[in-house]
């Protein structure tokens, strides 16, 4: 085999990736440009908020509760040899609000709402609904994509906050009600050490970033999927994988920016 073939393949893949990135960026710019409809016809956005947000509450709350329970147990086991079991509240609150809340919410959201968005858009494309809209001079980006995008951007921060809040309450149940730690210490240490702007605020900024990223990825992959059942199936898997990776990389970048300097 010609030894230059792998090198050529590398070049081809790189160019393909760059082209895809460029295409995706233009799609994103288009999406933002057509967002006006999402605000003007807010009813459409409300319907999407229901589909994306309300339907995700159960999994987010359940996951938040279990993560809070586990954090409390593990935190207690780790802290008690040092006599610091009273700091459990601080440990759980900071872990949830800074990192676990935003990231886990984004991953669950990508899995639950992201795949449903991709599948829906992909099936619309496969059923030629998007072409039919264009025929009627209705811009599918304004009518279909923009409301879903706005709904996603609004939902993820709210879901992230619900995740963290439920997690902290679950940790309270384990730490104070079950293990018997002092509730005064639990809440007062938490209030002293958790900063509204630095910790809660940065966590919410993260959820905004993750919401924008995963919703955009879900819509883009759905819009660009092959108009066949297999194509749609592949697209939904691709959404979860790409969303998860992007969220995790974004998390690292944002954490480095937000939390490195004291």
């Amino acid at each position: 085999m010609n030894p230059l073939v792998p090198v050529q393949r590398l070049g081809t893949s790189t160019l393909d990736i760059l082209q895809e990135l460029g295409h995706a960026s233009r799609f994103f710019a288009d999406l933002i440009a057509h967002s006006g409809t999402a605000f003007r016809r807010f009813g459409l956005t409300v319907v999407q908020l229901h589909a994306i947000g309300n339907r995700s509450i159960l999994i987010i709350a359940a996951s938040g509760a279990t993560v809070g329970l586990v954090l409390a147990l593990q935190g207690y086991i780790t802290l008690s040899p040092y006599g610091q079991a009273d700091s459990l509240g601080v440990l759980v609150a900071l872990a949830l609000v800074r990192e676990l809340g935003p990231v886990l919410t984004a991953l669950l959201y990508a899995g639950r709402a992201g795949t449903s968005l991709t599948a829906e858009i992909g099936l619309m494309k496969a059923g030629e609904q998007l072409s039919a809209m264009e025929m009627m001079a209705v811009d599918p980006r304004s009518r279909v994509l923009a409301p879903r995008f706005l709904a996603g951007v609004i939902s993820v921060p709210l879901l992230g906050a619900i995740f963290s809040a439920v997690g902290i309450l679950a940790a309270y149940v384990v730490g104070v009600l079950m293990i018997g730690l002092d509730p005064g210490q639990f809440w007062s240490q938490m209030e002293a050490r958790v900063d509204v702007l630095r910790d809660v605020g940065n966590g919410i900024v993260k959820t905004f970033a993750f919401g924008i990223a995963s919703t955009f990825i879900a819509l883009y992959i759905g819009y660009e999927s092959e108009a066949t059942p297999e194509g749609v199936a592949r697209a939904t898997t691709k959404t979860v994988v790409v969303s998860s990776l992007v969220v995790l990389v974004l998390d690292f970048i944002l954490t480095a920016l937000m939390f490195s300097a004291p």
Binding site: L49, L158, V166
Partner: protein, 159 residues
């Protein structure tokens, strides 16, 4: 599903989210103690600020009365200049002193203000005259080692 019902459910969802954010801000974080009162600045010059950080509390009689807003180095007398924002409700006598104390044994450092007895009160931007620097652990250990080393030489004379 009826349009009314959808909108109500979405409203509930948004409400839940807002409540969660509020809970995190108030119960889990320190928004409640965010003082919206106005503050006035006071300065203090220390030989060594130790581990004092910006946003460290300023306490008097154990109660937080302000925050450290900036720590700077004065190149002319090689001391640290600490600016504190003190709550407007509290005015301190001109002979108050400022000490850098540690919360607990190895905890975060904060500034403790001991009120003096002067009738004149400090105005905004004035410097606190008496400032005690932070206790640096290494210096303390060094002093202890030196005093232990000096002891055997003193003993024969004490007999």
């Amino acid at each position: 599903m009826g349009r009314r019902q959808t909108e109500t459910l979405v409203g509930t969802f948004v409400l839940l989210g807002m409540l969660a954010i509020l809970f995190l801000a108030l119960k889990a974080a320190n928004l409640a103690s965010f003082s919206f009162e106005s503050h006035y600045p006071l300065l203090a010059r220390f030989d060594n600020v130790g581990g004092l950080k910006v946003h460290a509390p300023v306490k008097s009689a154990g109660v937080t009365v302000g925050k450290v807003s900036s720590i700077a180095f004065d190149g002319s007398d090689y001391r640290a200049v600490v600016t504190m924002q003190i709550d407007d409700r509290f005015r301190f006598p001109a002979d108050s002193d400022a000490k850098i104390l540690t919360a607990g044994l190895l905890g975060d450092q904060y500034i403790g203000l001991d009120a003096g007895s002067d009738d004149r009160k400090l105005n905004a931007g004035e410097t606190i005259a008496m400032a005690q620097s932070a206790i640096v652990l290494e210096n303390l250990i060094g002093a202890l080692v030196n005093s232990k080393a000096a002891e055997p030489a003193a003993r024969p004379g004490a007999k």
